[in-house]
Subunit: 391 residues, 2 copies
C-alpha cells in the first residue's frame, strides 16, 4: 500500500572506485580544479606548501611538502591514477625521474619541459618553424652586444626558468645594465627586442591522453605592471587571425604531445602572430571558461589527463570578460568588499582565500552577456569594487 | 630595471575574516553548497553522520554528530555567522531552543517549521488562504470515514513529519487499510483525495535576511515511483499560470519570513494551482540553476542567509533540463559509466560520491540549449547512460 518504492536497506552493488588525480601545487588553480573534481566525483589530492594554501582551504585532500623534493612528489602520486600540475616549478629532472619510475604524468616530462624551461621552449618552437619574437640566448656581455647590433636597445631579458607575473623579466636599456644583470646570474637569459605589440592573445587547447583536442575561443589579454589583468572572449580580432592562432596552438599541442590544458600566449604584431610563451596547466587566461563556456578549463583538464572524453568548449554567451583581483599597495582585503561586489548584476565572484599582499592574485570576476562593452564595464566595476579600499 | 612591480614580501593589510556558515547535514545539497562557498570565499562547516557523507568527501569542514542532538547542533554553530540546513529533519523544539539561545538561524525556527511539519504547513497555508488540495487531519477511523464520505476513496495519507522521496506517503484504498495504517502510528496523518494532476510544478524563491527576494523560473517536475526524476525549465505552461505560481511562492516567502531558498511545489489541476509542499533549503528541483542560471540556488542560499545581495536568477539559455540519477535495483554504480556519459555533448555531470543503493539519488545531469526537445533528449540519454548496467 506504499506509494513509494522502498529502497532496499543495502544491496551488493558494483562499486566503482572514483578516479584519483594528484596535483602538484595547491594554489587557486588547484582550488578551482577541486571544484570541478567535486562535480565529476573525481578525488583530487594536492601537494601544498601549507595549510593556508587556497586548495587546502577549499578542502582538497592534501599532503604538505615541497615540489622540489622527489619523495614528496612520489608520496603525492601514490595511489592516484595520474599526476598533474598547477604550476611550472617542478624541476625537470624530477619529472623525468618520476616518469622513468612508472608514474603516470600528464602532461609528460618532455612536454611539461616546454613550459618549465623557456629556453628549451624557444628552441623547440623555432626548430618546428613556429614564429616567435627574434631571440638569442645571452650569457655574456658579448652576446648582448652582438644581438643589439642587429636589433638595437632596449632588449627584454627573460630568465629561462621560474618567471611569472612579470617576475624574471627585465627591460635592459644598455650594455651597462646587461652587465649588472649578468653579474647576478649564472643561468643566462633569453633576450629579445621590444616587439611592437598590437594585442596580446591567448588560446587554450585541451588535449587528452588519447589525442582528442578541443580549442577554446581566442581571448585578448590585457596586462598592467606585467600582470594579466583582463581577459576578453572572444578576442576582437579578424576571423583570419583567430583561426591562425587556434591552428598554431592546436598544432603545438599535437606536435609536442601535450596533455591537459595547453595555454599558448601570442603577440599580435603588424607582421602577424608571434608565439610568446606556453603553459601546460589550467591557466589564468582561461578562468572565463568557468561560467563563460559549456565546459570549464578545470573540468577539461581533469577529463584530459584521465583520458576521458572532452567537453564542449563553446561560449555560452556572445561576450565574456574576466578581471583579475590583485592585491593593492594599501593591503586592503577584497573580502571586506564582498557585500558591495555582489550588488553588481551578473558578476561571478571568485575569491581564492589568500591573505592580501600587493601584487598577489587574490581572485577574479567574470561577467557574461550579449555585448562586449557592457560586459566589460560590469566586470571592470566589480573588480574596482573588490580592489577599492573600504575607507 | 625590473619590468614588474615586485610585490612587497609582506604588508600589514586589513584582513577580513571570511564569512562562516554552518549547515546541518552533509548530503549532496551541502556538497554543492560547498562548491558555491569556495567561489565566494565563504567557509562552510557541516554536521555529518559519517566521513563518507557527500559534503565531507568534497572537503567541507565538518563535525560528526546527530541533527537530533542539540549539543551537536550547538557545536556546529559555534563561531559561525549563521546556522542553516540541507534537510528538514531537525526537531522543531531544537530549532526553537537554539534560536532562544541567540544562535542566528536562517531560516528561523518559525519558518523552518513549515517544512519540517507538514500538518503545521497545511494549517498555515489554509489559514492564509493559499489553495491546497482538500485535506484533513486523521487520527481515527472515523476521521477517514467522514473525509471519504465527501471525497470518496482512495485517499493519499501523508505522515506529518520526516517523509521525502515518497517515503511517508501511502495510498489508502479502504477503511480496512486506513485502520491498518493507524495501527502503526501514534501521530496521525494528513489525508487528501487523489487530485487530478495535469502537471507538477515547482518555484524556487530566494529571500535574504534583509527581505530581498529573487524568483527562479517555474519548472515542471516529473516523478516516477514517487521520486522526482526530471526537471524542465521553463515549465511548459501559460505565462498566466507561471506568473500565478511565482506570485504565490513569493508571497509565501514574504508572509512566512522564510530566509534562504524556499521551494514551493504545486499541482496544476483543471481547477488551477494547488500548493502541495514547501522546503526551506536548496532543493532538488533547483539543480538546473547551477549551469542553467546566472546564479545557482546554492550561491543564492549562501548570499541570502548571510544577508548579502542576491544574484540574478535568470536562465542563461532558453531550455534547461535536469535528470536525477537514481540507484538501480541491480546496484550498478553510475561512476562506472563516467567515461561513456562524458561522450554526451553538453551534459553537465554531477556525481555525489555516494555508494549505490536502489532508489538512492546518486547524482544528476543537466543540459542547456536553445530548444526543449533536444535538450531533454540529451539529458535523458546522459541519465540513461549513468543508470545503465555496465554488463
Amino acid at each position: 500500500m506504499s506509494l513509494a518504492t522502498e529502497p532496499a536497506p543495502s544491496a551488493p552493488g558494483r562499486k566503482a572506485a572514483p578516479p584519483r588525480v594528484a596535483m602538484v601545487g595547491a594554489g587557486q588553480l588547484a582550488r578551482m580544479t577541486h571544484q570541478a573534481a567535486i562535480s565529476l566525483g573525481v578525488e583530487l589530492r594536492v601537494l601544498a606548501n601549507s595549510e593556508s594554501d587556497p586548495a587546502v582551504r577549499a578542502g582538497a585532500e592534501h599532503i604538505i611538502g615541497s615540489y622540489r623534493d622527489i619523495d614528496d612528489l612520489r608520496n603525492l602520486a601514490a595511489g592516484c591514477d595520474v599526476l598533474t600540475f598547477d604550476h611550472e616549478g617542478v624541476p625537470v629532472e624530477h619529472l623525468t625521474a618520476l616518469e622513468q619510475q612508472g608514474i603516470n604524468l600528464n602532461p609528460g616530462a618532455a612536454s611539461k619541459r616546454l613550459a618549465q624551461d623557456k629556453l628549451h621552449s624557444r628552441e623547440v618552437l623555432t626548430d618546428l618553424g613556429f614564429p616567435t619574437p627574434p631571440w638569442t640566448f645571452a650569457s655574456t656581455p658579448e652576446d648582448f652586444r652582438s644581438f643589439t647590433s642587429h636589433h638595437g636597445w632596449p632588449v627584454v631579458a627573460k630568465a629561462p626558468r621560474g618567471g611569472y607575473d612579470g617576475r624574471g623579466v627585465w627591460m635592459i636599456e644598455s650594455l651597462g645594465e646587461a652587465c649588472e644583470l649578468l653579474d647576478g646570474s649564472t643561468d643566462g637569459f633569453i633576450i629579445e627586442p621590444l616587439v611592437n605589440i598590437e594585442r596580446e592573445l591567448a588560446v587554450l587547447i585541451v588535449r587528452s591522453t588519447g589525442g582528442e583536442r578541443a580549442s577554446y575561443p581566442v581571448v585578448e589579454t590585457i596586462q598592467r605592471d606585467a600582470m594579466c589583468r583582463e581577459i576578453h572572449a572572444p578576442a576582437p580580432v579578424s576571423s583570419k587571425v583567430s583561426a591562425r592562432a587556434t591552428a598554431m596552438a592546436s598544432e603545438i599541442a599535437a606536435v609536442t604531445g601535450a596533455t591537459g590544458v595547453l595555454a599558448v600566449e601570442f603577440f599580435l604584431t603588424p607582421d602577424g602572430l608571434l608565439v610568446n610563451e606556453l603553459a601546460l596547466r589550467p591557466h589564468n587566461s582561461g578562468h572565463f571558461t568557468i561560467e563563460g563556456c559549456v565546459t570549464s578549463q578545470f573540468e577539461q583538464h581533469l577529463r584530459a589527463v584521465l583520458g576521458l572524453p572532452l567537453g564542449l568548449p563553446s561560449l555560452i554567451a556572445p561576450a565574456v570578460s574576466t578581471f583579475n583581483i590583485v592585491g593593492q599597495p594599501d593591503g586592503t582585503d577584497p573580502r571586506s568588499q564582498l557585500e558591495r561586489v555582489l550588488e553588481v548584476p551578473g558578476a561571478h565572484v571568485h575569491l581564492y582565500g589568500k591573505s592580501p599582499r600587493p601584487g598577489r592574485k587574490l581572485g577574479h570576476v567574470t561577467v557574461c552577456g550579449q555585448d562586449p562593452e557592457p560586459v566589460r564595464e560590469a566586470a571592470r566595476l566589480a573588480a574596482a569594487t573588490l580592489e577599492r579600499s573600504r575607507s
